[in-house]
Amino acid sequence: MSELKLMKGNEALAEAAIRCGADAYFGYPITPQTEVIEYLMTEQPEKRTGMVVLQAESELAAINMVYGAASTGKRVMTSSSSPGISLKLEGISYLAGAELPAVIVNVVRGGPGLGTIQPSQADYFQSVKGGGHGDYKLYVLAPSSVQEMSDFVEDAFDIAFKYRAPVLILSDGLIGQMMEKVYLKEQKERMSNEELIEKYGSWATTGKKGRERNIITSLDLQSEKMEARVHRLMKKYEQMEKEDLRYEKILCDDAEYLIVAYGSSARISQKAVELAREKGIKVGLLRPITLFPFPKKQLFELANQVKGILSVELNMGQMVEDVRLSVEFKVPVEHFGRTGGIIHTPEEILEALEQKIIK
């Protein structure tokens, strides 16, 4: 039986981490995601499940603690907000390079710089184009409700271990801070060390009992070896595109115009779609749930049907580039978004659609 609660997105995410049997969380406070570590420290998961929770001295330390735990096959998570994620990018690149599974949560705030603590989606590029140094990508999940903040934690761990790759949950201040009702899954048992060694002993550095030693590194001084490593990563990303793309289509069947939006923007855009339909304008919404992989093919097909597409984002136009690439310029694609922590209203979105697309 699942349990029904009213929770903040950040709290639901933290509780989901405990319930899905995560082994460890390492984090550092930053608004608007601080509730994650506060909740975990209050809940004392060490007593509930044996999960380790530690407040690190910095985001750098936190992500490298994640790297350490992940290198031993443990299910480990960290969370932060935009400036903190910038600090973590070195470690995230190492996780990708060393092929380690981990879940990283970004509750995005406005930037650049110290920016604002209000919601934003200005970290889209950083999230889907790699972000840190080197040839890598992250599998990126974009929750748009408190329920998804909870559900996506286990999904993220599943993907992370399926591919031995870091997974990003890209949320924002709105989804993190708002409360909604959430059905929490039942507590799962953490994996025992014996089972872990059996499952991940082929690569994890758990001590070389009964086997040859394992090494976790992202270093290959020989160029051929490094190229082979990068090719291996790219194969994973291709497989993700084939097997683990997620998206949601809302009222697209008869749509003459299309809004593309993810996360909190998708929620607000859905209201704009409702307002448009009240006025007799047939608008649909495509919500990418994964930002990498991106629903390229679905957009390409919708471009045969609709007259124009509006990419709605809490930034100055980032995802719109991917939308344009996906539809190969078959129809006009425009961007609408507010930034600096201002959240666009459904009315503003509808107005932008009418002015930029319908005309």
Binding site: V52, Y67, K209, I215
Partner: protein
Amino acid sequence: MDVLDIIKPENQVFCKTKLMTDTPLSYCPGCGHGTAHNLTMEVIDEMGIAEDTIGVAPVGCSVLAYDFMNIDMTQAAHGRAPAVATAISRCWPEKYVFTYQGDGDLAAIGTAETIHACNRGENIVIIFVNNGIYGMTGGQMAPTTLEGMKSSTSPYGREIATMGSPLKITELIANLPGVYYVTRQAVHTHKHARKAKKAIRKAFENIKLKKGISFVEIVSNCNSGWKMTPNDANVWMEENMFPYFQLGDIKVDGKLK
């Protein structure tokens, strides 16, 4: 005695520890890293804990420590080894976790991770090889470079007024309550190496006793970076490094000496 007799197992008086791989060391001839590696692996072998030990390699000359140390190893980002080791030790409290770091890694870029892992009293060993220079990148100034010492980024010698004093991070961390054992050793002579091995052994024993951080500094040479012959480098180390970085125990059983 004939050569064939000499190599018979019953006549063997010494052999390389199994915990060092057969991969040729990448270190310059005369460098102390090889000895420091060897002593660490001998201790782990003699304690019979190889299957329960996880090492964390740094960035620097010893980045490839995992090629030579025949145990499970994770290579950390520059300076972050204490954070990596923290997590491994927290998730696997029964394991022996250690970091092996140089001076640039531990005392410059990784200062925060070093101090905070020490302050939390993580149940790990830190082996800190201090040769006063960045060897891997070709001889740049390190936090531990001595006053007046030339490097490619202090070509006229380290000037205290503009570059600060050589950092005694070992004394610094010894003052933290979470730190149980701090010692400074050397490995350039048999006598020093034997003492250093005892210190490393004590450090790993402390993990077993769950005493918190044990910190073993090894003052070493860098003949390439110092632009000297190996022998001159050792002499220079004794005459210049040791007076500033004095050998001996700094904190034992949680008490400052």
